[in-house]
Symmetry: C4
């Protein structure tokens, strides 16, 4: 990463015209809005319902200010984290985001290359537009996000493929067993999956292909509709989790937990970790801010459980607050997608660089030499 709090000269170069990248979340979003057509931009930027939860996610960070410590001696800092064996040079990973091909061609490969270059791991979405094996071929540090499709054969295949391709954990998303009510997409009449976007895992599955009359390369719409039909799985329950253990010995995290009781239940069911999330305000509008849920969840599961968090993280201060309040690391979503939209792999790297610098500076100036020193006493 190019910025170093202790190296003013080096930073001066970055400062003095060394960057044409946007600075700050809103600037990245504005640039992405210029770069994209309205429908894909809205797909990324929008949320469910009246977007109240999107707003609540941000507001929760505002309500919890930092209480920096002085004169701790922070010349040396270690921002790195390791979660279930996955290391990152900064306390964030790249969240799973589906259908990234609407933002840029060959999107997942750009993400993978940025991940490899920076060392910040990615969590590949089940709804990506590149086959998980092709992403794995670039060998980024990686986990796999699982949409447990309603079709059991395809779901099992997906898990086994991810395991075989060297993904280090399964992040089972439990808050999106079907798509939510998203007014922007409804207004735009926009369902990108209809032309095959985000369905690469289906199309790379031999069993799926075997069911088709003609392959997706020849006849896209029928294949897309069949894949879409296999997606929803509202029947999934806690009892099903045992099956997942038969398909893989990888660690499993549940993503989308918002309640203490659900968090405890997940651990009782043998899950290896939790991602507190409201899917960036994209699923249940009106739901509790993720940061508020994080506090409740960490309190319930104790200090040793693996708890990640996403939804509303925009600045270095947000990262530091979330970690101080109990997240082992946070996941970045829209921030890096805007980087992708603006500048492809390089844009993602710029976002990562900037956010890491902001986290580093916030830690340096708040008296934290390592991520482990971020604890609730740092937040009012």
């Amino acid at each position: 990463m190019a910025l170093d709090p202790g190296n003013v000269v080096q930073n001066a170069i970055y400062l003095s015209g060394g960057t044409e990248w946007p600075i700050g979340y809103e600037a990245w979003e504005a640039r992405a809005r210029e770069s994209l057509d309205r429908a894909p931009f809205d797909y990324v930027a929008g949320g469910a319902g009246a977007e109240e939860t999107m707003r609540a996610n941000l507001e929760a960070f505002r309500r919890r200010p930092l209480r920096p410590r002085m004169l701790v001696g922070t010349a040396e800092r270690d921002l790195s984290v390791e979660v279930l064996g996955l290391r990152s040079p900064a306390p964030f990973f790249l969240a799973p985001v589906g259908v990234l091909s609407i933002v840029r061609d060959d999107a997942e490969r750009a993400v993978a290359r940025a991940s490899t270059a920076t060392g910040v791991p990615l969590i590949l979405s089940s709804a990506s537009s590149t086959a998980l094996e092709d992403v794995a071929a670039l060998d980024p540090p990686r986990w796999f996000q699982l949409y447990w499709w309603g079709d059991p054969e395809l779901a099992e295949n997906l898990v086994r493929r991810a395991d075989a391709a060297g993904y280090g954990a399964i992040v089972l998303t439990v808050d999106t067993l079907t798509l939510a009510w998203r007014p922007r997409d409804l207004r735009n009449g926009y369902l990108p999956f209809l032309n095959g976007a985000g369905l690469a895992q289906f199309f790379a599955d031999e069993a799926f292909r075997g069911r088709l009359e003609s392959p997706p390369e020849e006849s896209l719409l029928p294949a897309s509709l069949m894949a879409l039909s296999a997606f929803p799985n509202l029947a999934l329950t806690w009892d099903d989790l045992a099956r997942l253990r038969e398909w893989t010995s990888l660690p499993v995290l549940l993503k989308g937990i918002l309640r203490a009781d659900d968090a405890r239940r997940a651990l009782d069911a043998g899950m290896d970790g939790i991602v507190v999330s409201n899917h960036g305000g994209r699923q249940v509008d009106g739901s509790i801010a993720a940061l508020d849920a994080l506090v409740e969840v960490r309190d319930a599961v104790g200090p040793d459980a693996v708890v990640l968090m996403d939804s509303g993280v925009r600045t270095g201060a947000d990262v530091v607050k979330a970690v101080a309040l109990g997240a082992d690391a946070v996941l970045l979503g829209r921030p890096y997608v805007y980087g992708l939209a603006v500048g492809g792999q390089e844009g993602i790297e710029a976002v990562i660089t900037q956010l890491a610098a902001e986290v580093d500076l916030t830690m340096a100036l708040s008296g934290a030499r390592a991520v482990a020193e971020l604890d609730p006493s740092l937040v009012a």
Copy 2:
């Protein structure tokens, strides 16, 4: 209803240009504003005084976020409710709204046809522009909203007619014994009743007609003024409720209750239910948000009393919150009136379809398989 959370393909058709309807309350309101002249739009959209209560109604929903449960298994859901024998496929009814003819010709018949088509019951307003018998002839699932006019003979006739026409309950509005201070209407010099709108129940009453020198069809203004004169009834008290029981054996609900003591008193007076409401912020400006009052009222009357709620319900999340906090069902007001303004019967059906879909998705994604599972633990 056309949308089904578990059927992504079906929804995809709706999503991909399948609708020209607005999506979301603000979009419906904006379209209605374009469709209507200013005075009738303001009549619908406006409230009393400085419209503080209108704002407070919305804000109260924002203050109470949902706490979704995961992995409950919500493939099968039952959104239906039954309140005092009236069933609805979704936990909402169509609130009584007066003078709908200012929005569209033959408005109440459009509402009735939408009600019949969707199964969502209507509560016909005493201030409708279509005789209650004519609405009943279309046989929608129906209750009758009673403005207990100051003229006792006419009030009694009204109740007896509603009973005879097959309305299943009387919803006595207690918060509008006279019209409130509504600045938008005052500025517009707009009192739609003056040309007979909203007075159909009077004009269809033989006793009323017998008092006129010439029938309304020939001489509208004198008839309208006489009807208006018969409207206010600030003298009405708890003691009068017994008389209502002499006129009908239908269940009676009091609409407009905002306090625990009033709610208990209503039940003690033998009422069959309560509608917590501030009339959408149209009567006492500065009054408590309806959702806050609902919490107080449900706490006071216990779990078995019939309690409905309106005022401020805009989204599926709002419906779910209100029900979780104690409403047996909610009443929709402005949302369906905007549907009527934009598209008549079809517009109302679109509003109902969309809101039902949003409720359904919110329940599906929050771990509620039936309305009965919506309880306060689902709200923070």
Copy 3:
């Protein structure tokens, strides 16, 4: 008053184009802005400092919603109040406002005529542009607001003249012993007193005139500067109040009290009443909202002490809230000044009529038949 909640037909005439007056505080203010030059408008509309207290005054009303009672039977209502022998048909008086001549010629006579016509008493400002005797000649129901000038002879004369002219009480303003920091006036370079406005009580004082080389009618600036010099009196303390009792046997109220301890001290000092006020946000910017101070003060002085209130009252709901929370009556300031600016005497009467109607409707619809029934249980 022309509006009657129980008389819809009469109101209908008002509603249906019967008024060209603005409706609602913001509309009156907007019209006044059009009617006045910028400097006098800013003088009226502005406050001290960053105008934070002006905003806080309004916000305090928003934080305390009403809890209306139903079915009380409010056909007959009595809005009248009597405070220390002064009766008003509505629970408000016209607050003392200085320098009204900047808004309209012969302003105080217009106020007096509106007061006489409506029966709503006025409290004449020491800083009026019409001699107190000339206002008294129109015989409105009246109290006198006292600025206890730094010049003791002139202050004593002023009190004795007010007593002789039939003012029923002295309202001693304690929060304006000098003018505050008012940025709008400073920006406009606007000190209306410099050309004699607001100094009529000085100019009508024989002792004052005797000190001048030539009378104000001939040489205005020296007279104005001499009057201004006599104004400030920051030396005034609790101990001085006894002297006031030597000058008059009229009841005395202290206006500008914002603390419980000061309120108790005023009563201990034999004062007959208190006006909780922050001078409409025009003196100490950053000070507590008047409604919040009212609650504290009423709690401290018990139910029997005379407590009035002003600062932030804009709507009928505000009047009702203030009275319910402990004010025996409220004082209106800017609302009637805007009426004066827009329409002279008739404008003031329109403001009074509208506000009384709004109060009346709020009481009628909230279950209060008399001002005495407005108690804290009506506010959440």
Copy 4:
């Protein structure tokens, strides 16, 4: 100072066109924006990150209203303070602000002359563009702000020079051991130090000059880069403070403390005082509002410790609130920099005059005759 609350005539002259200066913080800022190029304006006006802490600083003052006392007798007031031997005629000093030369040529001399003229002390920044000896030559009442540079020889020299030049105390800034993430500057590519601005203390240091191949006057960039390289010092800890005592016997205050534990530790380490500050929101974005931290700190250190405060002080009410809540005095930052930008020395004096008048009026009207009478009972 030209304004006197008790002298209305004198003020009238000021009021009536006697000033062309802006009135109020926002007006000064707006005028400064017109006067400056974008980059230097943004450097002054901007903050770290998303500027949340800048907003929080202001909001904290809004949340804590004043509770003015009446009739105390405030004809005579003493606004002066003395802190560790440094007197000011008003309870504020001029905060250390670096790189003022971006705002106006010869900036620090203008500040020094304004300080001398008004008697309000300055705290000279280590990052000033004028050598500390040259500022001292104008003999303003003065302290020296210390950036404890990473280069120990240069840091020691700096302290010894300040001591020798008659600065009365060392204010060691502990929150800026490196520069923070400031998006406005990053967007503008603006690092003013690169062309020597703010580096005068380095350039006046013989040891520093001895290391250069050619002096800054001849070869600016290498000298600037060398100085910048010597700046960061994240290694500084509590243990280093003892060394400072070896370099000087002047009182030492720590500036940038935001926590009770750090405040106590500073006193335990023998420091003579604390400046509660978040550097005007320019360092750790997301950090606690300075006023909130002040309350916590004063509570922790007891009434006798020296505690100053800055960050968010904009109005006279803000000054009074901060002092009432525990600050012995506050430091002004942006307000006087805008004065400098708008009008040089005279602009600074105008800002000081205005703010002193506002403080004086606020005290006069709130019942405080001396700064010592400002205590927490004056704040709600």
